[in-house]
Symmetry: C2
Amino acid sequence: MDQDKAMVIFQPSGRRGEVPKGITVIEASRLLGADIEALCGEKKVCGKCVVRIEEGHFEKYNIHSSRSHVSPWQEEEDKFITAERREKGFRLGCTALVEEDILVFVPEESRAGKQVVSKAARDIHIEHNPAVNIYTVEVEPPTFEEPTADFERVCRVLEKEHGLKDLTVDIFALRQLPTALRDGDWNVTVSVWNDREVVRFRPGKAERAYGLAIDVGTTTVAAYFCDLTTMEVVDTVFMMNPQCKYGEDVMARITYHMTTPDGLQRMNDDIIEGLNSLVDQAIENTYPPKKKKKKKKGEEGPHEFVEVPEEGKTYLRLTKEDIEDVTIGGNTAMHHIFLNLNPEHVGLAPFPPVIHHSLDIKARDMGLNINPASYVFVLPNEAGFVGADNVGVLLAEEPYKKDKIALIIDIGTNGELVLGNKEKLISSSCATGPALEGAQIAFGMRAAPGAMERIVIDRETKEVDYKVIGRDAWRKYSEPKDMKAKGICGSGILDLLAELYCSGIIAKSGAFNKEALAGHSRFRLNPDTNQPEFVLAWAEESSIDKDIVVTQRDVRQIQLAKGALYAGCKLMIKRMGLEKLDTIKIAGAFGTHVDREKALIMGLFPDCEIEMIESIGNAAGDGCRAALLNKDKREEANWVSRNVEYMELTVEETFQQEFMEAMQIPHMTDEFPHLAGIVPEEILKQ
Amino acid sequence: MDQDKAMVIFQPSGRRGEVPKGITVIEASRLLGADIEALCGEKKVCGKCVVRIEEGHFEKYNIHSSRSHVSPWQEEEDKFITAERREKGFRLGCTALVEEDILVFVPEESRAGKQVVSKAARDIHIEHNPAVNIYTVEVEPPTFEEPTADFERVCRVLEKEHGLKDLTVDIFALRQLPTALRDGDWNVTVSVWNDREVVRFRPGKAERAYGLAIDVGTTTVAAYFCDLTTMEVVDTVFMMNPQCKYGEDVMARITYHMTTPDGLQRMNDDIIEGLNSLVDQAIENTYPPKKKKKKKKGEEGPHEFVEVPEEGKTYLRLTKEDIEDVTIGGNTAMHHIFLNLNPEHVGLAPFPPVIHHSLDIKARDMGLNINPASYVFVLPNEAGFVGADNVGVLLAEEPYKKDKIALIIDIGTNGELVLGNKEKLISSSCATGPALEGAQIAFGMRAAPGAMERIVIDRETKEVDYKVIGRDAWRKYSEPKDMKAKGICGSGILDLLAELYCSGIIAKSGAFNKEALAGHSRFRLNPDTNQPEFVLAWAEESSIDKDIVVTQRDVRQIQLAKGALYAGCKLMIKRMGLEKLDTIKIAGAFGTHVDREKALIMGLFPDCEIEMIESIGNAAGDGCRAALLNKDKREEANWVSRNVEYMELTVEETFQQEFMEAMQIPHMTDEFPHLAGIVPEEILKQ
């Protein structure tokens, strides 16, 4: 390795690479694409860029390093980092200079991406019928005449007062019983799973039990922390999938397993470790001793509060053991890796998963640090890559109960499609890749401050106007230096393709119209690659001191992604013999941000009236939440997973041709009647 | 600590103490009461006394030591210990000298006690209906038309061919499936627990599955290693309960828990570690690459054999994963400690256990190193100290199915009694203590070579004749030096009390008849304690160069034990309002060795005809085996445990008086009509 360079690894993003020694950790993060929040522009005054230089993880990466591999502590850091945190290795990213190899952990609050990834729970209707219920019972103490054992003594009352029969008990829970009974003066609160098994005993009367509904995406992992007794969503926590360091998409993860001896174990370790950090985060959020937690009005529920006399306040204080149920969903590859099941065959035709059916697994067997006697309910898989996450979407949307024919699109790194109604449902998956999320695009980035999320290009002048996340004013109403653009996120990318096309910058084939653009100040050939590119924002408008451009290769990547999706939709509609759809529902963060008109223009999915397109948010997560709060949904999940017909797109005879055609920007008005009026006529006529 | 002494700890017996530096490990074992086999009399020629000087365990005991704490290796040891075993710390106990503190592990084959403790399985009738069954199925490989997941594909055939419906699967087993299916070319052997859950997948066709039935006694632990498919007992393995180091009886163990912060955890760790060594032993015994295993004729079953070309032989070769089911029983205290359940309340009136019902617990949750997906079936408890071991006895004897009224006595460190027939059963427990097993007796020892197991005292001369374990000829037919007596074991102790009484050496009160004995060469006052004692074997007949005596205190200990047992029996008979018993069944090793006539003379249990007394061997273990091989017995266990009425003896009004009276040697001929004729008339008339 170059003597003047040092290896830096960022966690949890997994971004890594060599950087020149002597630059700040923030500068290194920018070079390597690991977004750290830096509101003050590295003036050491905002304190947002706190990171932890980690020691514990070094051996894992064979880096022999220590905290002294960064420059010494500076006075300015005292303002933002307590002595205790300093002891743990916390530093300001703008102040610590990289001097040797380091591993940098970027805490959630310092990650630039966090605020905008929309994984908030939607207000869907869920019937209250959780798998874990709590009962407080009072029993008579044993006597010589009636020396029945503790457990049978409690069961007798549970049967009499609550009709619970033939209960079994987890051994970890049973160990709590003798002490709980006596500490509670013969009153005990019993947590019962599925009316069948006792998973916890607490002394006296307890009011609450909590659960987590987890959606493991290829790129993001979101968890809803729910009160099982009130159904309230206490908190939503999320993170990057720590497996991202092994590859962006599911095939890359599977390949990593197949090419690395302990690859599966490593990826499994990482997701489990990651989920445990989500658990920590959810629990910590309930007890902020330093600052009062910001809550929206009406969000406050009747929690178990803890008095903090030195602050004169009470806080909700929970422990990990208070999490007594978990539901989890993910695509088939994420499902298999989470369960440490060989995902190899999911990646090879005919793509059989190891199992379809849901699983109930003890949290301790998964290594999850919650109440160890609790179960993790793993949602069932449909087929191929259409996994438990899609079952979650179906549970949330319930197309199998409806008359209307819906096309439900869950666009993540992998696209999953479901089409049909209560008569019949078919599903398929398409490899959209991560381009629509901003990856594999020269200036692509996640939805974070500085990301161009809306783009408009003047049809005549081809001048670019845009809006960045974190600033309300559009470019044309701002001073250039105020824009601080950094890159383009998913919603901006969709806008981009449509706008490039409508303004005549690219042809329907996706190729730059070189003749039309000749001499335009924004169009040029890249001096290094000699490839055409178009400037979206000049260096002076950026926070990275570079022109932000879209390249010919970027356009191709976007075309590949949208082509895969469109071809999939089209083949499914054909298979069902349909003339028209009643509704198109878009799940995922993508759906929340997409401009429906632009999506139609670029041909992301079949033509339809704009009003028919609906965003359904993180439906996969909502489905997990439904299964958490209503155990009947678990049965329903198994039923629906076996009653959706899976369609393997890649073996369809016409797939290749459909895919090639779908790469083009749509122009045939018979296939896309609704484009008329929103795409300039001269463009459509090309 | 004395500079000239070293601390030596023997495992698994737990015997420990300081010994003079420079003595052999065997000499140290003798001083501390840890029996090591030494057939050749320490001439370094038999190689029986192999021990392992352990390093790994030192920190646990805060001993900073190493193998160099014994004297250097000697040439003679090469004959008996391979280089590989030498590397692991094996030495001859007669050759290695103690130079500093050491921990000595005595392997089962070097333990003097092993051959005679009779824990062999009896030939009881058990219907073949194991909880774990294996099925080999062949499935079609997946295609695009039929891409069903591996698990559902296998289940479909299991349902069609074997009627197994709605199977679930353990996650550890599921991880084996994709590889097993493909390695077996779409043939797979499936282990199914209780027709309900898959616990193992093996590629291709497998013929066998194995199980362990474990009886955890306070002092000894025995395990039957059974072939679940043929019901054959492949092997019987046993060991001392490693918890013995914390105390001899159940109350001592409970006290240890109550007085030591991590006492329960330590005892639990020890029994789990011990059980794992039993598993190792059972598995190792199936593959003896150095010497062919001695098998009785007809014992050889159709096992999975392994060829060992260098020996030109095939051996049964198994792994720990081949153990796919376990049943386990023990008294309530052993049950609780095994499960890491607080045993405190079992030791306090009214003695409620934590649970009665049986438990199915994953082997991995217990830390047992067998197939991790397998279940451990823990037999249910009755009440108080009458635990799962007694349920085992009942399962083996089935008094609840019989007309005859039986008194079933399981004498171990704790005595458990059941009385009744199919109309009604009552149970109780009595604290016999370990005296009847040879503990707390000056020269008491376990049934091992050199132990006096039969004793006859001449009514006139009061000369002693006896037989020792390991030598067929009685004393009067032998040269004194050939006897090599070491002590007295359980059966000898019973003989002893009866013979001392019948020959007039002790009175019915148990006191030595000092007048009658005055001047007899065998009777004397101990010079140190001034207590009366009677010589059973002179130093020249012993291998320990000491007179072997019985003291007044010994007699009292035996009286206490037999008094507790007798009083218990009597109170139970009274409670049932019975006039006579149809049969007395004695379980445990004790029952195998007891001389029924002598037991009657000393008043161990109610008077009856000698023919009515039956030894039923290790019935607790047989019951565990019945539950292992026939799952209906598990249901039966829960039923019987709730249908035996428990009687707490210590709260009976007349208990103290009965106990005091029962301490006496019986003399009232109306209560003991069968004594007439076997006890000299002049003795009875005293």
